[in-house]
Each structure stands twice: as structure tokens, then as C-alpha cells.
């Protein structure tokens, strides 16, 4: 099973730590930057839920557009994975912060920017039964 399994683990263990046993809907906001495979993540979440006897009815994924902001010139941009090589996309897939080694501000070339939105698993909403 691929690395999305470990992302699912964090989500399930987090949900469990909040005491949920029966979940009507699990809504997860996923930053596009990390390019997470939703199918595999969904499958992993269901497997882990059953392994930890948590019931989850619906799993809903919401995409979050990446937003990067340059602290040097203030420029904001949405880094599209298509602007990256296969290798760069894979690096960011496993460690989103690899972007700081691979990307510069398109306007002023600065490396002093932040990932404002769209990094990875950015929010987990639980609606219990």
C-alpha cells in the first residue's frame, strides 16, 4: 500500500483521539500541491476505520487551490503541479516543503515565500451520527 496510507492513519487516529466512533460524514480538504491520490486515500481511510472499528458513512474530499505568497515583493500565485517536472512533483508529493528547494517567486525570484493554502491535508471535518 502506498504512502497515502500513512496520511490516512493520521486522519483516522486524529478522529479516534477526539472520541468519535460513528461518523456520518468525514470531510477532508486536500491541498492540490501535494497531489494526493484520492481513491487510494479513500480506500485507506475505510480500511483503517474498519481496523479500528470506526464506522464512517460518507467521505468527502474538497480540493484546496494552492496559494503561495512572496514576502519580498508581495506577489501571490497558485503553483500548478503541471509547472513542475515529474521528479519535482514526486518530491513535493512526499514532502510539500520540498517546494522551497524547487520554486522561486515568479515575479522577483525570491525564495522567501510561504505556502498560504493548498499544502496537503489542511482540514478534517467530522459530522458524527
Amino acid at each position: 500500500m502506498v504512502h497515502e496510507w500513512a496520511l490516512a492513519e493520521s486522519i483516522i487516529y486524529h478522529v479516534m483521539s477526539q472520541g468519535y466512533r460513528k461518523v456520518k460524514m468525514l470531510k477532508i480538504r486536500l491541498g492540490i500541491l501535494q497531489g494526493i491520490d484520492k481513491e487510494i486515500l479513500g480506500f485507506s481511510l475505510r480500511e483503517l476505520a474498519s481496523m479500528n472499528n470506526i464506522e464512517i458513512k460518507d467521505i468527502v474530499f474538497e480540493d484546496e487551490e494552492p496559494l503561495l505568497e512572496c514576502s519580498t515583493c508581495g506577489y501571490k500565485w497558485s503553483l500548478s503541479p503541471s509547472a513542475l517536472s515529474e521528479e519535482e512533483r514526486e518530491a513535493i508529493h512526499f514532502v510539500p516543503e520540498a517546494v522551497y528547494a524547487l520554486v522561486k517567486c515568479p515575479k522577483c525570484g525570491s525564495r522567501d515565500f510561504t505556502i498560504v493554502k493548498g499544502r496537503g491535508v489542511s482540514s478534517i471535518e467530522v459530522v458524527s451520527e
Binding site: 500500500m1 496520511l7 479516534m16 514532502v95 491535508v121
Partner: protein
């Protein structure tokens, strides 16, 4: 509790490791990378051992291990499996950053640390050595306060006054945070730090002489 979902996974991943040693010193250049790499290589001959490099902006262990970043490939199995170097399980971010400069704000460095601890599957190990960056910033705050019950700190210092004073400050923070065991290794020295007042509450593990290779 401040909610970073990764925390639960981090605790679970590290709990399958008998001893997690963080090789630390706020001072740079005292031998953290050299000591952590030597200890890991040595231990890996007899025990299931791992080495994790979390000095993300200035990684050195791959150089000491004579590994070219391009060689470092990690398999995926319910996460990422560390690289198997003749029995030593090894992970460094250089596999992804290809030794390119990686300027990282403290906040981003802490996020990398948490992401790696959450997705790298060390499995059952006897020993994991963590090589750390100098200073006392975001990553160190997580090592000291988030992983307080998991990590065993090994403070490294040279005999130089600058290093000893820095080590004293670090030991006081570790004591105050409640670390029961603090190890101390004198590097590039000849045992002169053994009875040093700085080491009142730490276990002096030994010294490594200055050995220019």
C-alpha cells in the same frame, strides 16, 4: 490539545523503536553528524538500527555515508520505508531535494519534521539515531516538548569554552523540560570534560579524540 493530526501517527511510528536518541547541541560544528553517523553505523552491525537526518537546511550524514542523493530511493509500504544501507535503515530529505539549497523558515522545518516522523515507517528497531541541526528553534521545540516521552537526548560538545557554555544552556532546558536521562559525549577532546560542573545531571558517555581522517 493543539491539533496537528500527524502527532498521533508520530507517536505510534516511534513507539515501535526501543531507543530513540536525538544527537543534539545548539553549537554548530561540534560533531553531531559525525557522532550520530558513527554510532548508527557501529550499532547497525549488531542491532536493528536507523539513522534520520533532520538537519534539513544543511544535511551532512549522506556525505559521511558516502551516499549520492540520487542513489537514495525509498519504497512505499503504508508510508515510506527508509533506505537499507547494508543493514542500516537511513532516511534523509536530500533524496527529494537532491542536495539543492533548501532555505526553510522555522515553521516549515517543524512541518517537515512532523511529516517525516508521520510517514516514514521504521518498523521494529532497537535504536534510532536522529542527527539534528544546531541552534534552538522550531524543530528543537518539537523534539523537547512534543517528543519529550519518546526521545533520549545525547548532548555533544567539544572542550572549547564556546561549546561547553552552549551545552550547559541546552542541558538546563532539557532538565527543566523533565528529561530523566541526558547523555553527554565529549568530541574532539581527551576526557577533560568528564568531571565538569556542566555535567552534574547528565551521564558522561565517553569521549572521541580529535582524529583528522
Amino acid at each position: 490539545m493543539i491539533e496537528d493530526p500527524r502527532i498521533h501517527n508520530i507517536v505510534r511510528n516511534l513507539s515501535s523503536i526501543r531507543n530513540v536518541y536525538a544527537v543534539v547541541s545548539s553549537k554548530g560544528g561540534v560533531g553531531k553528524s559525525t557522532v550520530s553517523t558513527l554510532l548508527a553505523l557501529h550499532a547497525s552491525r549488531r542491532f536493528e538500527t536507523g539513522l534520520l537526518d533532520i538537519d534539513f537546511t544543511n544535511p551532512s550524514t549522506h556525505i559521511l555515508l558516502n551516499l549520492n542523493p540520487g542513489e537514495l530511493k525509498y519504497e512505499e509500504e503504508k508510508g515510506i520505508l527508509p533506505y537499507d544501507l547494508k543493514g542500516l535503515k537511513y532516511f534523509s530529505i536530500v533524496a527529494y531535494t537532491m542536495d539543492k539549497p533548501l532555505p526553510l523558515r522555522g515553521e516549515a522545518a517543524r512541518s517537515v519534521l512532523r511529516e517525516l516522523l508521520a510517514i516514514v515507517k521504521w518498523g521494529r528497531l532497537k535504536l534510532l539515531f536522529i542527527d539534528t541541526p544546531p541552534g534552538m528553534s522550531d524543530e528543537h521545540l518539537d523534539l523537547v516538548y512534543l517528543l519529550r516521552d519518546i526521545v533520549k537526548p545525547m548532548v555533544v560538545s567539544t572542550p572549547s569554552i564556546l561549546s561547553v557554555k552552549s551545552a550547559a544552556r541546552l542541558v538546563s532546558v532539557l532538565k527543566e523540560a523533565g528529561f530523566k536521562w541526558i547523555g553527554f559525549i565529549e568530541n574532539m577532546g581527551n576526557g577533560s570534560l568528564r568531571g565538569n560542573e556542566v555535567l552534574r545531571d547528565v551521564e558522561y558517555l565517553g569521549y572521541i579524540p580529535y582524529t583528522p581522517r
